[in-house]
């Protein structure tokens, strides 16, 4: 929506380096300018001026572009995870719309030649080159261990929570035998081995509904018959994407957003993501104005917007959407006649005093227009069980539920795991203890980690949810651009040996922001991490 955006996404390959420098320079002017404007003139001016500039630039460029770029361009404004990686160049590719490419590769008469696969393949394979995945791979190869591998890479790039696993473990030690083997005597094999309903066992849905209500502190009750269970939140989001949009349609997604959305929403569906930039000046809160602008731009370009996808608590920032914002969102969706997908997978991982409000609660009170609201939930984060692959679609739309139920046959949860979790989630006393203790521990880690960064001169956005903090390291980057950001990321990974997620992987519009996930650490790891970051931050400061 500003010059930055242009430098990140719009640049054809040959001019890339050049344009990037230009974009960086322009950005140095525009972002502060915008801050000033917003400070005085408010949101509207602050957004409209850069947007107008951007629009004209886009218009200008459109006339000076060759065909191939034009095509990529019109396909996807947000399809830029490819260009993130410095080495991979222009990788913008779209499932569903790249058939010409696939045909070009087709060589049916020469068996030894390249084998023709689907058009979506190359995009998917190359997506793995992004720093997000590259960093995760790096940790896998050389993971830090206090005793075994003290020089290994410390994982701060994965939103995983190990802080309260001991509680789950204790519960299992006491109860799992009965949960799976059924009193140790009567094991019902036909209850787990045979075909079960693909959208989840009813008993499990009841248990999950109870758990969700407990997580949301009984502010809202969930109806088990509105639940569809899937093998993780990833397929839950994909299924909603399949149900709500056709290939070539789009969803509005506020940036920065969870890097996995590109996979979940776009890969196999051919659906687009339109970025709705949130800014540091607003503490990365979502503005309806920005939504409106993005919506209109998409419309002008002939893209049909089918919905908004929000994460609440947000990932990677960790802030919560206020009640007022939620109401405004609902109004916006109603006005434009589009869907809202609210990803609340971290609802149980809020800490501090700020109030979490579920979209379900708003809809409960509003009592109108429920049909356009769909929730995504899961046990990966709130119960620290990502390996168990439990995702939830909670929808108020019967047609969506019916279609989603049929689609779960492609990604349903293994029955023995469901049986085990039925017992665990039905133990409300355990669940309550878990949630309370987990929140306390998260908060403690958060406070310590943020303090540690502050001592190094790195500020974080105040956050109330999730396993991470969102840190401003723009003071440490050599050039105010994506390139500068990735250079710093590389230093952190290879010199400091910590794997963090650079903002560009989350499509953050401002360079220099990083996500630090702290919930896989223990408290005594924090000084080690800070020491390592300090090494890099000092050299960066010297070099500036």
């Amino acid at each position: 929506m500003t010059q930055t955006r242009f430098s990140r996404t719009r640049t054809p390959e040959p001019e890339k380096e050049q344009a990037r420098g230009g974009g960086g320079a322009a950005m140095r002017v525009i972002v502060p300018l915008q801050g000033v404007v917003q400070g005085r003139g408010g949101l509207i001016l602050g957004s409209i001026i850069p947007c107008a500039l951007f629009y004209f630039l886009q218009f200008y460029l459109k006339r000076h572009r060759n065909d191939q770029d034009d095509q990529n361009e019109s396909n996807s404004p947000g399809q830029n995870q490819g260009t993130r990686s410095p080495s991979s160049g222009q990788l913008t590719e779209l499932p569903g719309l790249t058939r010409n490419l696939s045909r070009a590769l087709l060589s049916p008469r020469s068996p030894s030649g390249p084998v023709s696969v689907s058009g979506r393949v190359s995009g998917i394979v190359k997506a793995a080159d992004s720093p997000y995945y590259a960093g995760l791979r790096r940790v896998k190869e050389d993971q830090y261990d206090e005793l075994g591998n003290p020089n290994g890479v410390i994982q701060l790039g994965l939103a995983e929570n190990k802080l309260s696993l001991d509680l789950v473990k204790n519960w299992l030690a006491e109860n799992a035998r009965e949960a799976i083997l059924g009193n140790g005597k009567e094991l019902s094999i036909s209850g787990i081995a045979t075909y079960q309903p693909f959208d989840g066992l009813m008993e499990f849905k009841v248990a999950v509904a109870g758990f969700m209500a407990q997580v949301m502190e009984k502010a809202v009750s969930f109806n088990p018959s509105q639940i569809v269970l899937t093998a993780g939140a990833t397929p839950a989001i994909e299924i909603l994407s399949f149900c709500l949009a056709d290939a070539g349609n789009a969803f509005l997604v506020p940036t920065p957003y969870y890097p996995g959305f590109d996979r979940d929403v776009k890969w196999r569906t051919g659906v687009e993501i339109i970025h709705v930039p949130c800014r540091s000046a607003d503490n990365f809160n979502l503005s309806i104005t920005a939504l409106d602008i993005a919506f209109n731009q998409a419309k002008k370009r002939g893209l049909k917007v089918r919905g908004i996808i929000i994460s609440n608590p947000s990932n990677p920032v960790g802030n919560l959407l206020s009640r007022e914002t939620l109401y405004n969102l609902l109004d916006f969706a109603r006005e434009k006649n589009i869907h809202i997908v609210s990803n609340e997978i971290l609802a149980g991982c809020t800490h501090g005093n700020e109030e979490f409000v579920s979209m379900a609660e708003i809809v409960d009170l509003e009592d109108v227009d429920r049909k356009r609201v769909h929730l995504v939930y899961g046990l990966s984060k709130d119960l620290s069980l990502p390996g168990f692959r439990v995702g939830v679609i909670y929808s108020f739309n019967e047609e969506v539920l019916a279609a989603a139920k049929k689609l779960t046959r492609f990604s349903s949860i293994s029955a023995p795991t469901q049986r085990l979790l039925i017992s665990m989630l039905s133990d409300t006393k355990f669940v309550q203890t878990f949630i309370t203790i987990n929140r306390e521990r998260l908060h403690r880690m958060y406070v310590q980690f943020v303090e540690g960064l502050k001592k190094l001169g790195i500020e974080c956005i105040k956050s109330s949810g999730g396993f991470y903090c969102w840190a401003d390291m723009s003071g440490l980057i050599s050039s105010y651009s994506e390139k500068g950001e990735l250079e710093l990321w590389d230093k952190l990974l290879n010199i400091a040996k910590v794997n963090v997620t650079p903002g560009s992987c989350c499509h953050c519009i401002e360079p220099g922001w990083f996500r630090f996930c702290f919930a896989t650490l223990t408290e005594k790891d924090i000084p080690v991490v800070m020491e390592r970051i300090q090494k890099v931050s000092e050299t960066c400061k010297l070099n500036r």
Binding site: V125, L172, I180, T194, A231, K371, R389, S411
Partner: protein, 483 residues
């Protein structure tokens, strides 16, 4: 399309179209069973489910193993100690132990004649998800796959629904025991070419569902050379590999290409534990490809259908127990063989023949002599009579896109011996009654009058939902809209 969408709450075409197949008339059989399920004591006149390819004959062995190895289910102190790593394990590669155990199991099932590389084992959500994943990797919307017919009805859903692909059936005939011939393949391929359909490959189930037969070496070699010459893919769905209960043995495509000069990048295998081990509830599907790009891409997609780490761990332990696996496979094929012979011999006594088969959880029953007229309509009439009068939910050949009327698939491994006797008795009575009646016309008219009253009472979904009749339409609205 547009009309449906305006009416609804802005759903996608995919969510509102019929490609899931659950509105097809074949669902009547399931509904009949759902409304009135057979129970030996509580509902002895109910409908017997013979449409579900489920293997329940060896549950006692599985149960014994699970009870003897509780730590495998994370149910003991030792098991729980592993939890910390298991519970948070979400890597889409899958647990190393799990991949190794599955590779080894596949080798064993294939007669230890080939080795499978654990690094090529990719997880999918059941064979359903695995098949779809392969399609997502190999083809774009509007492309087509050749599928020898009769074929598994849900292929129509798994291969087409979300991918936007088409199926081009390859007709196989009873005159040569439904063999897949080169001529039939060529014909289907040419036909697709001439209608401007881009054929991306051939997909088939070996052992065959619904036939219960295994492919012979010669046919497989000819298939491989066919795809190799055309430069298209070959996907072998080998999920029934271990259900083979008598000779000839099962030959994996991996074994065939070992001594053939062909482009291995074209060969892909789909596997699962739902049939061979009887674990459909565990949702384990496997893609095994010889093509590195496909392995790489399918692996990234497996995030959409990962098997729970708890279940991976359980299966890794179970499948690594070689003594148990050996014993299980021996016992399973023994029991399947016995069940198969009880059924087919029982039918023979009343003059009903079946296609000679040696695999699968079903056989292919020939009811042509009982058809009033030799048409698809005649077959449907007979089928409705079997459901409403004989009260057996068997699957008619037309739901498998069989071009000859009068064939039915009968599943035999999802019931106990008692139920088998009841089912056989019912068929005998039905056939004999038909023979005694002098005027077969009256009989069929009676079937006509007795309409099947059914309603949707259950939201349960099935593994084998049949599809509406042949849906090969190059001008389907979906395709038109996209291009």
């Amino acid at each position: 399309m547009e009309r449906t969408r305006k009416k609804g709450q802005l759903l996608s075409r995919m969510a509102t179209n019929d490609r899931h197949g659950e509105n097809s008339p074949y669902f009547d059989g399931w509904k009949a069973y759902d409304e009135n399920p057979f129970h030996p004591s509580q509902n002895p006149d109910g409908v017997i489910q013979m449409g579900l390819a489920e293997n329940q004959l060896c549950f006692d062995l599985i149960k014994k193993w699970i009870l003897e190895n509780p730590d495998a289910s994370i149910c003991t102190a030792e098991g729980v100690d592993k939890l910390k790593n298991i519970a948070i394990y979400q890597d889409y590669h899958g647990l190393k132990e799990f991949r190794e155990a599955v590779a080894k199991f596949m080798e064993r099932v294939g007669g230890n004649r080939v080795t499978f590389d654990p690094n090529r084992i990719v997880m999918g959500g059941g064979a359903t998800g695995a098949n779809e994943t392969v399609m997502f990797c190999l083809a774009d919307p509007g492309d087509a796959f050749l599928v020898p017919a009769p074929y598994y009805p849900a292929f129509a859903r798994d291969l087409r629904w979300r991918t936007g692909l088409e199926i081009v059936p390859v007709d196989c005939k009873s005159s040569n025991n439904f063999r897949i011939t080169r001529a039939a393949l060529e014909e289907a391929y040419e036909k697709a070419q001439s209608s401007n359909i881009n054929v991306k490959g051939v997909i088939l189930a070996n052992p065959s569902n619904p036939l219960g037969t295994v492919l012979d070496r010669e046919t497989m070699r000819s298939l491989v050379s066919f795809v190799n010459e055309k430069g298209i893919h070959l996907v072998c769905d080998e999920i029934y590999a271990a259900t083979v209960f008598s000779s000839p043995r099962f030959i994996s495509i991996a074994e065939i290409i070992q001594d053939m000069d062909c482009n291995r990048d074209l060969i892909h295998i789909v596997y699962s534990l739902s049939k061979d081990m009887g674990f459909p509830g565990f949702r384990v599907g496997i893609v095994y490809s010889f093509n590195d790009v496909v392995v790489n891409c399918a692996r990234k997609m497996s995030s959409f259908g990962l098997v729970s780490s708890q279940t991976q761990y359980l299966l890794a332990s179970m499948l690594s127990d070689e003594e148990f696996v050996g014993n299980f496979l021996r016992e399973s094929s023994k029991r399947l063989a016995r069940r198969h012979s009880v059924f087919t011999k029982g039918l023979e006594q009343v003059g009903i023949s079946c296609l000679k088969s040696n695999a699968g959880l079903f056989f292919w029953m020939n009811m042509r002599p009982l058809l009033k007229e030799q048409t698809a309509q005649g077959e449907l009439e007979l089928w409705r009579a079997i459901i409403s009068e004989v009260k057996l939910n068997v699957s008619p050949g037309s739901s498998f896109q069989c071009s000859e009327p009068g064939w039915f698939r009968v599943c035999f491994a999802n019931m106990d011996d008692e139920t088998v006797e009841v089912a056989l008795e019912r068929i005998r009575a039905f056939v004999l009654q038909g023979k005694e009646e002098d005027a077969p016309d009256q009989k069929s008219q009676r079937w006509h009058k007795k309409s099947l009253r059914l309603s949707f009472s259950s939201s349960r979904l099935y593994d084998e939902s049949p599809m509406s009749p042949r849906m090969l339409s190059p001008h389907s609205p979906l395709v038109r809209a996209r291009t």
